[in-house]
């Protein structure tokens, strides 16, 4: 899966983009747990949302290999 990383989350991960293996349980929740255990500082953010193919995702959504997942730290536009 292609993973895009923005803002404070990118500073933590150190990269704008990652190629991440599809978790054996391919849910967004399990991806969240995997990425947070690899980069524990992500847990210190106020909130962490995920988007799949440019739409906000729920924890129970199922990921596929060709999906583009985005890691979305708290937004602060305006």
């Amino acid at each position: 899966m292609k993973v895009l990383i923005f803002g404070a989350a990118r500073d933590i991960v150190g990269k704008q983009e990652l190629d991440f293996p599809l978790p054996s349980d391919p849910s967004v929740k399990s991806f969240r747990e995997n990425i947070c255990s690899q980069f524990p500082e992500l847990k210190k953010l106020n909130a962490l949302a995920f988007a799949v193919n440019e739409e906000y995702a729920n924890d129970e959504d199922v990921l596929k290999n060709q999906d583009v997942v985005a890691i979305i730290p708290p937004v602060s536009g305006g």
Partner: protein, 139 residues
């Protein structure tokens, strides 16, 4: 055209937004202009840097405009947001709404900026004398 969405690295133009919002059926045009403030909680801010997830940010701005057109009695809505590095006093966001009556224009404008701040994937970093911070990222 009922809605106009724009994300740009170039300075935003108030008149352009007003032109999109204008129309002979309007009795009111409400224009919200967000500006870069020189301080946060007493600390002097020198500049802001905005970054975005461009394709998704445009989609989310479109959704806000569509919702506003359904939710309120308005005729047009324009949402322009800037990204990149902005100095104090510059304009990161303009929302312009045209409506027959002012209350719907005010309400739609408020709804659009409040929702934008909650859902649109844009991030701002504040630059201080002694460092930089992503806004709202950490407790």
């Amino acid at each position: 055209m009922k809605k106009n969405i724009h994300l740009s690295t170039k300075p935003l133009e108030i008149q352009t937004c007003r032109d999109f919002a204008s129309g002979n059926s309007n009795g009111a045009e409400c224009i919200f202009i967000g500006t870069v403030r020189n301080a946060t909680q007493g600390n002097a801010v020198h500049q802001l840097h905005f970054e975005c997830y461009e394709s998704m940010a445009i989609k989310e701005m479109e959704k806000i405009a569509d919702q506003a057109l359904i939710k309120f009695e308005i005729l047009t809505i324009t949402i322009h947001h800037r990204v990149g590095t902005l100095a104090i006093g510059e304009i990161p966001v303009i929302i312009a709404v045209g409506a027959a009556h002012r209350s719907a224009a005010f309400d739609a404008c408020q709804f659009a900026i409040d929702t934008l701040k909650e859902t649109v994937p844009i991030w701002k970093k504040e630059f201080f004398e002694d460092g930089e911070v992503w806004v709202s990222a950490h407790p």
